[in-house]
Structure formats: structure tokens, C-alpha cells
Symmetry: C2
Subunit: 351 residues, 2 copies
């Protein structure tokens, strides 16, 4: 019953994956907005731009020429934040000045040869090829590195500097902050409750229904109970799966389909190519391949910034940076809006 | 010695205030930028805009008319994220669906009657009045609320929707995520090392000098060893002080002066009104006024987003949201650049 009261009154919700809280103040949606207006994503991206270093056949910053690829295409990031050979900064100096070595590799993966296409507009078979490549990368880089972060920054609002559809893969010699929290809280949950946190969560959400956006036989996408971004979603397999490379062919097909449906709804929400940052979290790799990682459940986070329209975003600024994240509509309201949207993309719809 | 090696090679640094790590990859500054370009902050803000609800004598959304104030001016936020009377959402339902009550008040405080002025361009006596008002608010709201968050979002890039110089004060019935971490890590540090973390840190930084930006008899501003934002700073009193209201008159005068110097350097860096989110963290209030909070040291965080110029910012997106924060120049490089800038504001400089 209290779920209904929540819709009007501010309250806190707990994020069990990271042990933090979010402030939900639904009544804030009414306030007027006179602040920054985002640039609408350009509709006019050419299919092939001879100056774009991500297109087939073009030259990149390091002088290499891309092949005439016709599916996915993977290459080393020309300006990597992580390099395989950085020296160890040496022993720690003082508890207030602690340093650790960081090594790794950064790769870029183009989804498709065309610059004017995005995942929701791609064929299912092409999305499936992206997923297969992701799985391959987790397997390959995971033999060496404890963490392989696959992520996509989509749209200029999310710091993406190239409209060509692509994602990045940063593999590191360390477990970063966010997966460390997810590891700790999932481990504690299994120990305390005897259930795999996110397997149980997916079951409960498919029963409760109010936060489900799309689902199929193998997958469910929900606006999580603890969502911070206005239309944030969590994409979960129904089966207990540790890593992308453990997905069956059928599950990969199901994933291609649910991604297309979810991302189509995102684009339809404000009839714009919806910006977001997304990424995959699966069980750590490297040395953890030898350990029991049964507390983990594979999942993807989608963090889209838009709040009210194609040009008005949510800012996570002063209060959010210094105190805690605050949202302006309830996760249930967000899920309902997404759920009610058509599954045909606005760009291909007749009429 | 290893500090020198760090300048060229990626490494991790530890943030002892929140128990997290940051990836420093200095070599990334070389990469070209073809992404989003920020709008330059407008120079042409009128001193008095009859339609701006923050100006003296104007009407606000709720129909109230502002007084003809000539110093600071405080009022209730017309669209508050926190209200004093929200009902308790009720007992928790399940470990994955946890809710807590949230109550509070949100206020807005104008710094000055003019819309075309900012803190670095204000007189020291006017900045001192802002500080006195902050101290008063911590004292007043702190009698009831465990946390009083004073913060300023400056510039459209930081979600600020009104150019009139102002900050916000959100007081809450709960201790938010960020101060909870600061409370926990400062408490553990004192217990383990017998020193107040940030008092010791300020001493060590003033000895080491390489991260100091500005200092005076009572204050020091550094780019912290663990800074995530390119030109992030931490402003610390030298004396052990728990809360803003405990500052002496001399310390408040010194604070007005160091704020003016720091913010002038910020504006001079890219010759633009430098956007940032900033806020104060002092010992929790409410029930904590009765407890020993000696592990706390008052401090202000400045989080400015600009990276390379007035229009190119750092994006904390995919990798940062899903893995850990990454920075493109070392804190030492940032401190040196800020330190070397003139202390006269570019707008008032002769020639
Ligand atoms: O209250 P304002 O200035 O309208 O709003 C701004 O600051 C708030 C507190 O950091 C944020 O929640 C909003 O997203 C931001 O736009
Ligand atoms: O690597 P890119 O796409 O040039 O850069 C983008 O993503 C990175 C990883 O999230 C961020 O560190 C950068 O700030 C952002 O602009």
C-alpha cells in the first residue's frame, strides 16, 4: 500500500548494489526550467564521412587505415587512458597519499559500417553480432585482466565525440570502485539471505510488474526501485548467468531483441536519438575465474540524462555531488511512461 | 621521488575521505576533442532584470514580492526537493525494496542585489556577509536537522538556471551518502592514526607545497591528491574547526579573502566566469551536537567541470559512472597552473 503514498511524497530509497540512498521528490516535476537547453542530436549524420576516423576505409590518428568492414570493427583506442606497461608508482608513502599501479588496454568497437544508424534501428542479426563480439572480448581480455568494462557513451550530452555507432572496452589490472561495491554487496546478500540478489530481484519485479519496461523469455528490463537518473533501467537475464560469454545462443538472440525494444522506447519517449551511458557488469575475471563468483548476476545499467524533453536534462550537480542523488519523478512513473510507448521506432513508423 | 614518475604514467590514487580511487592518466590531455562545446557564460547579464525572480523588488513564482534587499537575501525555495511534513513511508517491505522517511527544508540565498556580479568580483565585506549568513544558517537549521547542506551551482553547465549570484541550503532529517562517508572515514582515521585527518592533511600539504593553490594565515586551498575534476580544490581552515558557525571573525575575514583569491584564479584560468558546484561539509548537527564530533574538520569542496578551455569540459560518463573516475592531468599540474595565475581578475585588470 505504501507504494501509492510514495508517488506524491518525498522519501529515500536504498540501492542494495552499492549501499547508497537516493532522494525521490516527485513533486519537483512541476518546477519551471529556465536553465541550459541541450543541443538536439543531429538527424543529419552522413552515412559515410570521409573525415571520420571510425568509418570503413578511413585513416585514424595513428596513421592506420580502417578495413572496409561490413559488420563490427575493433581497434585499440588511439588515446588510451590505460596502457599495458605503466610502471608501478612504488610503495605507499603515507595513508593520505596512497597510490597503486594501474595497467590495462582501451579498445573501441564500431557496431556497424554506417555512421547514420544506431542500435535500435539495426537488424536483430547485426545487434546479435555486437553481442557475440562483447562476449568474445570478455573471454579474451578476461584471461589477463580482473575487470573488463564494456560501455557506450551515446550522444554529445554524454561526452560522446563521434556520432558513428560504437562502444568502448577498457580492461584493467584492478577492480574499479563501482564493480567493487557490486561485488561486496552481492556477496553479502547471498551470505545473509541465501539468494543471488539480482536473480531474486528480477523474479520479484516480474511479479510486481509496476517497474517492468520490457521483457521476454530470457530477459527483463526494469526501472530499478533505486534508480537515480530519470529513465534509468537495469537489464537482467532471468537465468543465473555470471558473464556475457556464458550466454547461450538463444539468450543472445533474446538480448538483441530486448535491447532493440528498450532502445526504441527510449528514442520514442522524446522522439530523439536518446543519449545515455550504458555498460555491462558481470563477475570479475582474471584471478576470479578460479574463484566461486556465484553471488554475481550479469546485468547492464542504462543511465540516460534526459528529464522532460529532448533538450531538458537532469543535472547531477551541487546537492547530488555533495550530499546525495535526487530524482524528480518516481521510478514507477518512469516505468509506466516507457512501458506505454510504442515498440515501433518513430523514424520508421508509417504516417 | 615517485611523485615525479606519476606525472607521465597512469596510476590510481586513494581518496581517504570516501574510500574510493581515481585513475590519473596524464597522457590523455593530448587527445583531440571533437565533442560537445559548452556555451560560453554570457557576459551580458543585466544588473537588474524585471523578470528575474531573484532580483530585489521582483515577484516570485508563489506571488511573494522580494524586498529591496541591499546585501544577502534568503527565502524558501519555491520548488523544494525537501518539505518538512512528508509522511513516513512505513516499515520496510523487503531488503531489496527499502524506503526511509525524508524531511527537510530548501532555501535559496542571494549573495548580492546585482545580477551581473559574482563572488570573486564582490567586495571583501560583502563576501564576509555571505559567510556570516552561512554560519547563521548552520546554527539555526542545525538545531533541528542532522545535516545542513550549503551548496552553489554556478553556470549553466552546472545546471544553474539563474545567473543571479546565489546558493542553496537544503537541510534534511537524514545524513546523506557523501557526508556519511566523510563521517565514517574521518572517524576511522582518528581512531587508527590519532590525528584529525584533514588537519593533518592541511599541514602536510602546506609543507609539500606542490598542490597548494592559495593560502593565508587561517586557510589553505589545495588541489587534493585524490582530485577527480580537472581543477577541483579543497578549502581547509588551519585550525581544527567543526562547523562554519565556530569560525572566529578573523577566520571569516580570512575566508572571504581566500575565496576571492581562489575564485579569481578560477575565472582567470580560461578568462571566463568559471562554472562549478561547491559546498560545505562540517560536522553533522541535530543530535550530533550532543556527541563528540572531534574527528571532523570543516571543509569546502569545489568541483569545476572545465578541462581545456572555456568551452571544453570533462565528462564524467560511461567509464566514470560504471567503473571509476578518470582524470586527464595530474593534480600537481592543475595546482601549478592555478598557482601561477594572477590574483587580479581579468575583468578588472588594466590594459
Ligand atoms: O534547484 P535548481 O537550481 O533549480 O536545480 C539544480 O540543482 C539541484 C540540486 O543540486 C539539482 O537537483 C537540479 O538537477 C539542478 O538543475
Ligand atoms: O573516450 P572518449 O569517448 O573520447 O571520452 C569520453 O568517455 C570517457 C570514458 O567515459 C571519458 O573519460 C571522457 O571524459 C569522455 O569524453
Amino acid at each position: 500500500m505504501h507504494e501509492r503514498a510514495n508517488i506524491q511524497h518525498q522519501h529515500l530509497r536504498y540501492n542494495p548494489l552499492r549501499g547508497s540512498w537516493v532522494l525521490v521528490s516527485a513533486h519537483r516535476m512541476k518546477r519551471p526550467w529556465k536553465g541550459q537547453v541541450e543541443k538536439q542530436s543531429e538527424d543529419e549524420v552522413p552515412r559515410h564521412d570521409p573525415t571520420n576516423p571510425l568509418c570503413p576505409g578511413n585513416q585514424r590518428a595513428n596513421g592506420e587505415v580502417n578495413p572496409e568492414y561490413d559488420s563490427t570493427f575493433l581497434f585499440q583506442n588511439d588515446f588510451p587512458a590505460l596502457q599495458p606497461d605503466a610502471p608501478d608508482p612504488g610503495a605507499r608513502d603515507h595513508p593520505l597519499f596512497q597510490t597503486k599501479a594501474a595497467r590495462g588496454v582501451c579498445k573501441v568497437m564500431c557496431f556497424h559500417p554506417w555512421s547514420d544508424i544506431t542500435l535500435p534501428l539495426m537488424e536483430l542479426s547485426d545487434i546479435k553480432r555486437v553481442i557475440d563480439k562483447w562476449a568474445e572480448l570478455i573471454e579474451e581480455l578476461g584471461t589477463t585482466y580482473p575487470w573488463v568494462q564494456i560501455f557506450e557513451n551515446k550522444g554529445a550530452t554524454m561526452g560522446c565525440s563521434n556520432p558513428h555507432p560504437h562502444c568502448q572496452v577498457w580492461a584493467s589490472s584492478f577492480l574499479p570502485n563501482e564493480p567493487s561495491l557490486a561485488d561486496r554487496f552481492q556477496r553479502e546478500y547471498l551470505k545473509e539471505h541465501g539468494e543471488v540478489m539480482l536473480v531474486q530481484y528480477a523474479k520479484m519485479e516480474t511479479d510486481r510488474r509496476e517497474r517492468v519496461v520490457v521483457e521476454n523469455g530470457d530477459w527483463v528490463a526494469v526501472v530499478p526501485y533505486w534508480a537515480t537518473w530519470p529513465f534509468q533501467t537495469l537489464l537482467l537475464p532471468r537465468r543465473h548467468v555470471l558473464r556475457l560469454c556464458d550466454l547461450t545462443t538463444k539468450e543472445r538472440e533474446g538480448l538483441a531483441s530486448i535491447m532493440k525494444r528498450l532502445l526504441t522506447k527510449y528514442d520514442n519517449l522524446f522522439e530523439t536519438s536518446f543519449p545515455y551511458s550504458m555498460g555491462w557488469h558481470g563477475a570479475p575475471t582474471g584471478p576470479s575465474l578460479q574463484e566461486d563468483m556465484g553471488h554475481w548476476q550479469l546485468h547492464a545499467h542504462y543511465y540516460p540524462p534526459l528529464l522532460r524533453s529532448a533538450t531538458v536534462r537532469k543535472f547531477m550537480v551541487g546537492y547530488e555531488m555533495l550530499a546525495l542523488e535526487q530524482r524528480d519523478l518516481t521510478p514507477e512513473q518512469a516505468a509506466q511512461r516507457l512501458r506505454n510507448l510504442p515498440e515501433e521506432h518513430y523514424k520508421t513508423r508509417a504516417g
